[in-house]
């Protein structure tokens, strides 16, 4: 039962990692060809859990995968928030206009 949960977690991690990589990576080439994705796929292949024993190694690699996923997701989300709440700084005149004032004029 616990093993099935682990396998599911693994699958979920794989799916989310692939999604993040797709978003951030170069749109021109296929994701499958990139060396990064190949490395990730190899890691998943190499560290497949045994069905009977509890592998500490498996947990460790999963945690690394989760940490990398966390980094990618956090970067993307913080960028999205920055874009969403982006404003340009108002000029002095515009700020004055907000409260119905005008800038004083200088008579030469």
């Amino acid at each position: 039962m616990a093993n099935q949960q682990k396998v599911n977690l693994g699958r979920l991690l794989y799916k989310r990692l692939s999604r993040e990589m797709k978003i951030t990576a170069n749109p021109k080439e296929k994701l499958y060809d990139t060396p990064v994705f190949q490395y990730i796929a190899n890691q998943f292949r190499e560290h497949q859990v045994t069905t009977q024993k509890l592998c500490k190694g498996q947990n460790e690699v999963m945690m690394v995968g989760q940490t990398y996923l966390c980094m990618l997701e956090s970067l993307r989300k913080s960028e999205e928030l920055a874009q969403m709440y982006k404003t340009t700084e108002r000029s002095i005149e515009q700020s004055a206009n907000l409260v119905g004032l005008k800038l004083p004029t200088v008579d030469h």
């Binding site: 190499e46 190694g57 989760q66 940490t67 913080s78 928030l81």
Partner: protein, 283 residues
Amino acid sequence: MAAPMNTCKHLIRTLTRIRKPKPINVCFIRKYKTGELKKFYKNASIVQNQGWFEVNLDQRKLRTPTGNLFQVPSEPLALAIATEWNSQKETIKRQAMHLTTLSNTVLDNPMQRSRGDIVRGVLHFLETDTILYRSTEPQEFLELQKQEWDPVLKWFRSSYQVELDSTTSLMPPEIPENTEEVITRKVNSLNDWALVGFQYGVENLKSIILMLAITDKRLTVEKAVQLARLETLYQTKIWGNVQWHHDVDIYQLQSRVAAAALFVHWCSNDMATTHKTTYSNQT
């Protein structure tokens, strides 16, 4: 008639000898202008060179801000850095490239820090560790701290065989000598690269214990960041969450700490893993 021809040939020969094909190692001064830098390459890839991994932007080698060659000791780290460069859209946003920045810090050492300096800086956080400082009111918050921080403290005490108590006063808690020695030894056991990453993580979390929990794979980065911001979390539950302040803070902290954790993991020497084979009918 023959003489000018000969000098001509000689000239051409010397010119072609000068322009021998060399690997292009151009130092990009323009990269470090203060204005916005456009993305000037199409693809970032990695190459291996005498046990080190370098990053190539198109055909040109990546360099650190002071002009040194950019080399990292581990392949997944190089791949992740190449991904950072690849994920830049039209402009280069260096503030999003944490792994690159960390590597540059190790390679350049801009503040001329020795190992001792860095270790001392990390140990400084031991007596002002976040999860040791308990606030006595409100009562609910005290309970929350006990509930969330105590298990981590318990794990830390048992796994490192040290004594460390939390405090409710403003004064830093008394750190037993044994504890300090054990933690110093643990931090000193990291190599130069992992040490810089570890220090960056501790700086951001303001807690050694939480960073150790991450590097020992006991806590996820999300959970550790949550624990580091427990008070803020408690307050936002009562007073509301401001997305453009609190969420931005969370995501920035998470990305930095995750980068630090990955840096420590990938640069540590215990990267050799034994591969477990898949058993099908084992009992």
